[in-house]
Structure formats: C-alpha cells, structure tokens
C-alpha cells in the first residue's frame, strides 16, 4: 500500500499584507512581510524555516527571501508553474518535503502586483508569437477573460447555463466579502440588477464575472503534524493533495482536445478523493479558484459535488452562500470579491475554516476543499480540522 501524506503535515501559520491597488512596496518586500507574519503567527522563528515553495512567476527569488527574512540553512526549495494553478501545489510540495524529511518547517507564498509586467503577459506587444498562443491571440483572443469566455459560452450552450447562474456565483462571494474587513469589496454591495447592467468585458462575461486586480501577498507555514501540536495555532491538517495536467491539455485555450469542458479539475479530483477519507458529499465548505465566475460550475462538476452539466444548477437556491447553503464557497470573498492573489487567499481561508476563525465560519466543519486554477495545470488540497 502506498504511503500517502495524509494528515502528516499541517498549516500552522498564516500571514498576509493589506490588499490594495498600487501598493508602494516591491513584490519581494510584500513576500517577506507576509512570510514574516506567517512565521510569527505560528510562534516559530525565521531560523526554524528550512523549506521554501513558491510560484515560478514569483518576482522575489528564494535566496532573496531567505536573506531578507533571516532564514537559516534551507534544505528544500521548489517552484510550481502555470500561474493560478500553482497555489495549492506550493503547499502540497512543502507538505511532501516535510513528510519525507527533506525539511522540517516550510513556507509557501504568493506576492503579486497588478501593474507588474510579469502579471499581465497578454499586455505585451511587439514580439512575434511562438508556441501555443499563436493559435489564438492574433485573432484578438488576448486576455485570460477572453480565453475562459470561449469555454463559458460553449458550457452555457451545452448545458443550458445562464447569466443568472453566473450572477449566483458573483453575488454569493460578494456577500461573504461584505462580512470580511480585509476584503477589497468589504463595503461594496452587489445586486443582481447591477450585475445584469454591468459592462461587458468578453461576452458572455461581464465586469462582475471577473476577479479583482490586487496588490498583496500571503504566506503559510507548514510543518509536521507532530510539531504542529506544540505550536500556537490550531493546525489545519493537510489531509490530501493532488496536481493535474489532463490529457491533451492546452493552457487556458484548452479547445484542442476531444472534450474541452472536462478541465483539469476532473483529473485533480480523482487522485484527491482517492487519497482522502472524505468524499464530496462530506465536504461542508469549499474555496474554489475563481479568476472568472464560470470556473465555479466547472469546478463543482470536476470535484464531484454534482454531475456533469449540473454545476450551474448547483448554484441555485443560495447553495454557495454562508450560512445556509449546501456548500458555502469562497467564504472570505474569493478572488472575485476579497482579493486576487493568484488564488493564494483561498488557501489561507481554508486554514481559517479549520481553525474556526473565518468571518463566515461553517460551524463544526471537519474539512475544507481548496482548489487552484481551473483552465491551467492545477492543484488542490483537502484540509482537515
């Protein structure tokens, strides 16, 4: 029998900066602030940290982080690619490293500024395209929202989903953000009428189907379950972890395979549930990657909360809303209403649900699903109390 990492490690520290548009500090500085806060939150010292896991898109390199935060000898470091698909994977890689003795205390993080060139590759001109993007961008399919809108239109056509379903997603997350003082949209209500009247970005998607543009950084500390028991905070155990690149996948423009609507979630879910004592019906709360609203029905289907084509209908009757819904989702507001930091805020909110400290706390939640980008090579975590 394969020995998995089930419950052998835990998230024990959470740290973050403020979320804003146009923060002065560099991405490296923001990363160091979040990591430093996470180490303090765990009740550990910088020299206890010997493992690092980050996004390959990160601007501040491991050596710079280590030199700034004053880490000691680092024995594990890892980078994950594919932008928003990487969030849960950084935590998962750190957990695997801790579980196998490659390090004892690891940090994973994401720092991002919306104005940074690396954050908006689609806005760069002048270069001729090589590789995958030459098959879509010349025609004006320029931005991530355009690429996902193409899938969304097809999804709506095949399964009868409507803008009302997408509004269910946007409104649920906004309601959660309205309870979260850290959220960008804390004081901004959103009505269905406002959603329906909003300007188009890429039809069938309007302004409110998009995530926010945010400057900020978040970090978590991961260590062994054994060590976690002696630390300051209630551990959020890493119960299961998976990554996926589905067969014949193409990043973002996944139109070139037999069934483009069977996205990375489906593959990721298979291993995740195989390694888990919980199944979708047991999961009372979720943090689902929401760069764009249609990713939610796609993820609900992929992770098995409903059947294929039923993801849109799943959003009806307030089922994504705290406190009464079947599956309160993105309980801090998510990427669409708290902050968009490549989905890393979802990891911290998942850990808060396990600590019992969310502003939309699901009482007695035993576990929480956290997912990273649908539409790109992805990853997911099942956290346990």
């Amino acid at each position: 029998m394969v020995q998995t990492i089930k419950d052998r490690t835990a998230i024990v520290g959470l740290g973050q900066t403020a979320f804003a548009k146009g923060l002065e500090d560099s991405e490296l500085s923001l990363a160091c602030q979040a990591i430093s806060a996470a180490i303090d939150d765990a009740g550990l010292r910088p020299q206890d940290v010997d493992g690092l896991a980050m996004f390959s898109m990160e601007n501040g390199r491991e050596v710079e982080v280590a030199r700034n935060v004053g880490l000691g000898d680092v024995t594990f470091f890892s980078q994950i690619g594919y932008g928003g698909g990487a969030g849960c994977a950084t935590v998962g890689h750190a957990a695997m490293a801790v579980a196998t003795g490659q390090c004892e205390v690891a940090v994973a993080w994401r720092a991002r500024k919306r104005a940074a060139k690396a954050s908006r590759p689609w806005a760069q001109v002048g270069q001729r395209l090589e590789g995958a993007t030459q098959w879509s961008r010349p025609f004006g399919l320029l931005r991530p929202v355009d690429e996902i809108a193409m899938l969304a239109r097809r999804y709506m056509h095949e399964f009868g989903a409507t803008r009302d379903h997408l509004a269910n997603v946007a409104l649920a997350f906004r309601k959660h953000a309205n309870r979260n003082p850290r959220a960008t949209m804390y004081e901004k209500k959103l009505t269905r009428e406002q959603y329906m009247q909003a300007r188009w970005i890429s039809e069938p998607l309007c302004l409110f189907d998009n995530c926010l543009e945010t400057d900020g950084a978040l970090a978590v500390v991961i260590t062994s379950a054994e060590r976690a028991r002696d630390l300051k905070q209630k551990p959020a155990y890493i119960h299961a972890f998976a990554q996926s690149i589905p067969r014949q996948h193409q990043v973002m423009t996944n139109y070139f395979c037999d069934d483009p609507l069977l996205g990375p979630s489906w593959t990721c879910a298979r291993l995740l549930w195989e390694h888990s004592d919980f199944q979708p019906a047991d999961v009372p709360v979720a943090q689902l990657y929401d760069a764009f609203s249609p990713l939610i029905p796609l993820s609900l289907e992929g992770y098995g909360f409903c059947g294929r084509g039923e993801g849109a209908a799943f959003t009806e009757g307030g089922s994504l809303e705290w406190p009464g819904g079947r599956l309160p989702t993105n309980t801090s507001g998510g990427g669409m209403s708290e902050a968009y930091v490549h989905g890393f805020n979802l990891v911290l909110e998942g850990a808060r649900q396990m600590r019992g400290t969310s502003v939309c706390q699901v009482e007695g939640a035993e576990c929480c699903l956290v997912t990273s980008g649908e539409g790109v090579p992805t990853s997911a975590l099942l956290l346990r109390r």
Binding site: Q134, P138, F139, G140, I201, T253, Y255
Partner: protein, 144 residues
C-alpha cells in the same frame, strides 16, 4: 509596416508549414505518416504512436462554429479600435475535435467587427478565407 496586431512568427518551427499554407490559400493540418492521426495545433510528435514523421494534409476549409466571444475593452490599442469584435472557434468538417480560433467576417476582406454579434450562433456552418496582416495570412471565416 507594424499594425499593432499580435502576430505569429511565421518561422515558428512547428507552425511554419501551416503559415506557409495559408499564404498559398491552403488550410493544412498535420497528419501522422505512421498512424494517420491528424493533430492541431502542430507539434513534433504524434500523441497516438509517437512517430516524428508527419505530412501536411489540405483540408476543405469548412466547419461549424463551436463557440464564440465578443471582446470589449480594455484591449491592446489596435484591437480596441475594432471592439466590440467577435472571436470564434471553428470545429473542422473532417474531424470536429480539430478546432481553430479565428473571426467571423462578412466578406473575404471584411473586418472582424462587421457582423452583428447577436446574429452569431453556435453550430453555424462557415468556410475559411485568408486575410493578410503584415507578412502573415490569417485564416478567418465567412458564413457558408
């Protein structure tokens, strides 16, 4: 002359024969010489039999609209001037799992913003046309 549009590198090692084809008015798809499986976008190895040998097969240039979007600003300046414009994905007649992204135009040299987006339907039959932008011939689509 630079137009401000984002264009492929016609010398991309995998894409070059495709772009040479469009310049001649041909829609070419890569086909494995060993097992006959077609593949798109072009790439070095056949994902079915792992052969590196391939040929380029001309297709009919007919297909149906698989999905579409209508893009609105913020966009790169050259595209913003045309917005709102459509972008369609076409399922090709020979194998509907082979798809190409393009635009629906009203005439062979028509602009990508001429067709009223509210008239576009998934499943509509289309046929390819080629439009030169700088040194590249982009496949675009007219109603068949």
């Amino acid at each position: 002359m630079a137009t401000g549009f984002v264009l492929p590198d016609p010398e991309d090692p995998d894409g070059q024969p495709f772009w040479q084809g469009t310049a001649r008015g041909e829609l070419l798809v890569q086909k494995c010489t060993e097992c006959g499986r077609r593949r798109l976008p072009p790439r070095p190895m056949c994902f079915v039999c792992r052969s590196l040998r391939h040929e380029w097969e001309p297709l009919s240039g007919r297909g149906t609209i698989w999905s579409y979007v209508v893009a609105h600003p913020p966009l790169l300046p050259a595209y913003a001037e045309l917005a709102p414009y459509n972008v369609i994905t076409v399922a090709l007649e020979e194998d509907p799992t082979l798809r190409l992204v393009g635009n629906l135009v009203a005439s062979p040299q028509g602009a990508i913003n001429e067709i009223d987006p509210s008239t576009i339907r998934i499943g509509e039959p289309v046929r390819v046309v080629y439009q030169q932008v700088e040194d590249v011939f982009l496949p675009r689509w007219m109603r068949a």
